[in-house]
Symmetry: C2
Subunit: 512 residues, 2 copies
Amino acid sequence: MTDQSPTRTGGRAARRAARAAPLADHLRPIRPGMTGGQYKPLSDADMAAIHAAALQALEEIGLVDAPESGVAYLTAAGAVLGDDGRIRFPRALVEDTLARANRSVTLHSRDGKHDLELSGARVHYGTAGAAVHMVDVEGRNYRECGIQDLHDAARICDRLDNIHFLQRPMVARDILDNREMDLNTVYACSAGTTKHIGTSFTDPAYVPAALEMLHLIAGGEDKWRERPFMSNSNCFVVPPMKFATESCQVMEACIEGGMPVLLLSAGMAGATAPSTVAGAIVQACAECLAGLVYVNAVKPGHPAVFGTWPFGLDLRSGAMTGGSGEQALLTAGCAQMHKFYGVPGGAAAGIADSKLPDMQAGWEQMCSNVMAGLSGLNMVYEAAGMHASLLGFCHESLILGDDLIGQALRCVRGIEVNDETLALDQMREVCLGGPGHYLGTEQTLSRMELDHVYPALGDRTSPKEWAELGKPDLLEKATARKEEILSDRAAARFAPDLDHAIRAAFNIHLPA
Amino acid sequence: MTDQSPTRTGGRAARRAARAAPLADHLRPIRPGMTGGQYKPLSDADMAAIHAAALQALEEIGLVDAPESGVAYLTAAGAVLGDDGRIRFPRALVEDTLARANRSVTLHSRDGKHDLELSGARVHYGTAGAAVHMVDVEGRNYRECGIQDLHDAARICDRLDNIHFLQRPMVARDILDNREMDLNTVYACSAGTTKHIGTSFTDPAYVPAALEMLHLIAGGEDKWRERPFMSNSNCFVVPPMKFATESCQVMEACIEGGMPVLLLSAGMAGATAPSTVAGAIVQACAECLAGLVYVNAVKPGHPAVFGTWPFGLDLRSGAMTGGSGEQALLTAGCAQMHKFYGVPGGAAAGIADSKLPDMQAGWEQMCSNVMAGLSGLNMVYEAAGMHASLLGFCHESLILGDDLIGQALRCVRGIEVNDETLALDQMREVCLGGPGHYLGTEQTLSRMELDHVYPALGDRTSPKEWAELGKPDLLEKATARKEEILSDRAAARFAPDLDHAIRAAFNIHLPA
């Protein structure tokens, strides 16, 4: 920055003018794919012990209920089908798979500007889930959610810098036919955002039609296969240690169609997984390792995300809880195992148990989100908008989540230490005959946009200013922002010709 | 646990009966002094660079404005007074001090049950600050705070498990005379809680009278000196790199009186400290190292807490902000430097910029609190109740902070990895011919209280249950809890004789 400022004043004026323009992407203080990993809940010995237990579970317990096709793929690869119907995995097979599996996966965006490069400890945040309720903030009410709510969520995500992808966060309960629901979900998400999308399919038979729509959107099958902008969130197991037969068939169809897969193991610690954090991680790793063998047996090197998603349980009631410290540890521990295996991975964070976007929701969402980021989780799913332990989705909360995740990303970026940031020269200048404060130093002014994240809706006024502004309410501000985003009807919609073509081929429920 | 259960059913019934009783302290899932440190924002090279810069700053820039007595102590110890009035510290002096300084400090409680053992990465959370407003949640209003508000805060802290100490969080603005305010602060805090207390003194002349009151409370000077249950929060520097002359004199008087000191350096990054996170940490370390030399020059080995408290600034407005990601990094980085130096340390976390205990407050308080804990900060000051960037204190928020900090402490406790928690035997039992779920296993039942933290006011009901309960509001629940705590007039008050003796000697403003 010094080269542009012959005089102090001229330089400052130039910088002020420059600051009026938005920062270039590479200068933004936070970005998708920042590198975490500074937080390590597990020691090296802990990780080795977890891996050893997972290998033993795969070798001795194995998984039951693979579809016939899966049995054929897996046994051909070297897995062993027992008389009890369980498929067991020799450790050499698992280790060979890990050696050959993808170390990085690109999850493409439709616009090419929001591609996610999953590798190392690079962190991305986005939505996910299968909420069945929409949270109405103003009415403090839960109502059934529908396809319009989903589409609106997509359009909101499209406009939020710190929501890096849209995995379908809720199910369209107003479409009763499963095939129509799945296809309209693909449409509602794709028509709302050009960011990467994750979705799910109820039945393998629906995949070909979905691919047909995706080919239309991409401009041809070759274009789709070159840059598949949608991935399949695949619950391929029913924990503990059972394949989900139909979902495995969906997975095979998606692999065939060139769609990346998220290998999602969603055990509930204390019900469908051991109640201990370590035990739930062991089982999730064992199940996802089985899934990784499966994917690579179907198509070596197919892009797959290692989706260890163990959830917490409130053992007093037996109900799910996602907002706890235990949940944050489950997710962070899994993230570290992804690094141990050297495979791209994802898990769930940011879930609130609270029914509304209140103080509890804030602390719950931040706890697991910041720990997930600091542990270097590649894909932080469920990161925004999720309430009532995944039963409710809230647009206002999604919008506030953009600020919350921005703050978490600033923490992930961490502390830069170099001669300039150590600032000894500044200290000398300021203290020894200088002004006695740093407010006007070149470094303070030049770095104020590069180093600092400013919240969009978060309030930093003094009590006096706040009173003068009429004591603005956080949720009312979020509602206003929601209405502003949703009133912009043009954003991210398909071109009219494309939209027409899709509507000609499919029964699209959203109004044109 | 297995030895008490000859049959499965009998064991379960016995456990259920046992669970009705509160858990013994050593069995509680979270406790004061749990060990953090799993999060390391700085590399070894980063820490060495920060230390080198701090040493260079002390050697080349030094600090100005020490009182005469301080100049005498410091130059006798080997510091050098320059012609410019600045005292410079040869690195050998700093390194010798670090080699001789306390590696651990005990901050005593009045009841002996809440002593804080500061060493290593042991974590404790508590209040602190000098708020000038009380936040009235129901009225959404800020009003001046007074001595009764402070006393009420003390009484509330006394009842919250996860608030481990009470440092005076607000100033009694209804007592205009500084001496009376300081002495009534000592009374209001001590009369409200038996936990460790931190306070401040406006003038060194007030310290002897405060010690007189403390001797009365302790039952004699010898008893006080044996277990000093109050520490002096001492802003001994006015950053950058200036001693606060009067506060240094206060510090000398407190050392003389046997009171532990918190060496508090509260620079504002971008105003009174460099704007970069690393630079603000360098300056805070330099200033606290100077303070440590000072304390050890007055009295070798006197208990001191290394209080690097750099605060964040919103550089757009020049106003303080404590709820940011930058703040969380400042605090976590300082915590790691305390480990580097091997001295007990403290810093600020849990500050909300938000004016009310809303979603923003929740995410702001959790972000820095959980990162402070994970970084192993010994004393997390300002951890609960603080709003409006330290200008406002809120009783309801303090109460909710107990849940929030409980969750952070669960994260600090981390992931236990051993044969039992890896749970391979359980997996085998459950999956191979077993029930297919873990709900009823011995391990799930026996660990449900030992492993899991349950919120007191945080809501985990389903949307249906929540609606049936009348959609309880989090803040209303906190207000009800506040009223319940404060209605118990007997708790923690002084014995009548002692109270009478204190009131005979001092003008106590709180009604008897």
